[in-house]
Subunit: 318 residues, 2 copies
DNA sequence: TTCAGTTCATTCCATTTTGTCATGAATGAT
DNA sequence: ATCATTCATGACAAAATGGAATGAACTGAA
């Protein structure tokens, strides 16, 4: 997202960055609304917390808490600062933890993945890779867009779209197909027995796959002008939660709802599925000799993807 | 975006957050690839930087730099850490600067805005508000989704979509209309004289307004199956840059290209514009007595929006 | 080959920051 | 009135940070 100039820091000037421990003390006190509780959590004395917060307020020139009858309450400024600083501290903590994973390990594989793919397809399978290569470290970061492998410290990436990535090789994992799903109760209550029935029931749309229902109806041979109707969601988790809670029939990428289908929280409505134009690829820099751990991961990933494709094909009608 | 559990910090533990000054020293050294240069920038001695970095490396258990013949080069771990920590430091700096704006001012207006709206429509007009209310402080933050005013410290927000925001009043600012634009050279080279001509030329699509071209052709009475064809962009800045550089004709929200139209870098192709379903609203909590500065801003904003609507209507054919 | 200039590493010491301990004031419950 | 609890603060100790100086290693010019 293009950031606004006014929001961008001119520079990380020491004058504008309080000590990290002071910010942690502030965050903790704000969370507990108590210096005493914060001291307990941080293994400091109550006086230390009190002084830290007062020093922070002096440094900022802003009251972050109001002291009301021996209690503290956040001011508006304090609430705003808490919100913003919390994100920064989490990021800092995550970054530090991640880099610490390099300690004592020569082989660390750094991957850039998409959030939903990483969460729903890759993470459940990683135990298999870890069993096969127990000494390999693995760092997963989220990147939404292609990047220059020369600029970012990654060994590989998962890409969704077309196999076009400058300076890299893209190997096809699998296509994305979206399938119609709903809760069992929804299906039964609306007596959904044919594809035509889906025209008249509430349908849920994925903002990122806006043509999915039209394509699905075309494939099913159903003529309708209502393909674009239905509540629109931007996130997979939201649309699947809505479908689970009987809000409608949804077209969702199959890999995303494997668990829900297995558990019965969602049922697949018909065997027809729409293969999206975009597919998933494993991408790595071209022209480099792959590190053995990267090679191993690539081999494992291709096997998993092949297995996923085979399982899918065997579920199609004979 | 839904964050991945593994990426989320369990807690901001002091063990995992190095001193902020140490991180600044690291960032600065990494940027200069020199402890001596970093010392100059930070007004410390070269020895202080050297010790800071060494201490950070000891604490993390990871080498961030390799020392090569009295020079330093980043390791992979160092490059990864630099990338992540930089974002956190910028966020911390921005948060601190913003909260410091509360100092000495009782009246600070906190607004949540959309990035493109804030940049392209609101920011150029804010000088007018500042002239009228010079004592009012103003903080703009970016929020992409509706939120609970009880949970976030905002006085108001700009919303794009439907006027539905729980616990808040939404006042209509203006509709969003997308208009066809291109560079003058592109228009002349492709001899674009009628709406029909736009079918055969390269067209650029906005991923977030996927039906725009279809709607525009319908409005123009042009029958075509090719409405969805064309390179797709996710960001306004990208699509407008592509259009400026003669890549095609684009349908872009009007407020976004006001400056380019004025400067002649883009020209409007036809008077026909498509009004999008979603509009822009000023939203503020219901049931609260508005603070005088919020009331003043609301009044000013409604006037500016009215003026924008009037200017648009007066540009339509008689 | 020699010398000057430059960079990073390290030690010693001074200064600053942080935290503990103890105490006081204020508040609410009993 | 008493007791328990919280925040604020002073005195002091401990820890962290930074300066100054020095050494080792390297590069380039003479």
């Amino acid at each position: 997202m293009t950031k606004w100039n006014e929001l961008k820091a001119i520079a990380m000037r020491r004058a504008f960055v309080p000590p990290a421990d002071t910010l942690i003390a502030f965050e903790c006190a704000a969370r507990h609304l108590s210096f005493t509780r914060a001291a307990e959590e941080l293994h400091l004395t109550q006086g230390a917390i009190s002084k830290q917060v007062r020093q922070l307020e002096d440094r900022l020139g802003v009251e972050l808490f109001r002291r009301v009858r021996q209690r503290i309450v956040l001011t508006d400024a304090g609430r705003l600062y808490l919100h913003d600083i919390r994100g920064a501290l989490e990021q800092m903590t995550a970054a530090t933890r991640q880099v610490m994973s390099y300690a004592g390990s020569a082989d660390v594989l750094n991957l850039a993945v998409l959030p939903t793919f990483g969460t729903r397809w890759l993470a459940p399978r990683l135990a298999g890779f870890a069993r096969r290569y127990p000494d390999a470290g693995l760092n997963l970061s989220v990147r939404l867009q292609p990047f220059d492998f020369g600029e970012e410290p990654f060994d590989g990436a998962i890409h969704h779209g077309d196999p076009v990535w400058a300076g890299a090789i893209a190997e096809h994992l699998f296509d994305e197909e979206v399938i119609p799903v709903a809760s069992r109760a929804f299906r039964d209550r609306h007596e959904i027995r044919s594809p035509q029935d889906l025209v008249r029931v509430p349908r849920l749309q994925l903002a990122t796959r806006p043509f999915a229902w039209r394509q699905w109806f075309d494939l099913a041979g159903v003529e309708t002008d209502a393909a674009f109707q239905g509540a629109r969601f931007e996130q997979f988790v939201m649309i699947s939660e809505a479908a689970i809670h009987h809000a409608g029939a949804a077209l969702i990428p199959r890999f995303f709802v494997e668990a829900e289908l297995s558990s019965g929280r969602l049922v697949r409505l018909f065997d027809l599925s729409v293969k999206q134009q975009s597919a998933y690829y494993f991408v790595y820099p071209e022209g480099r000799t792959l590190h053995p751990v990267v090679s191993a991961f690539r081999q494992w990933l291709m096997e998993e993807a092949r297995a996923a494709r085979t399982a899918r094909e065997s579920m199609l009608p004979g």
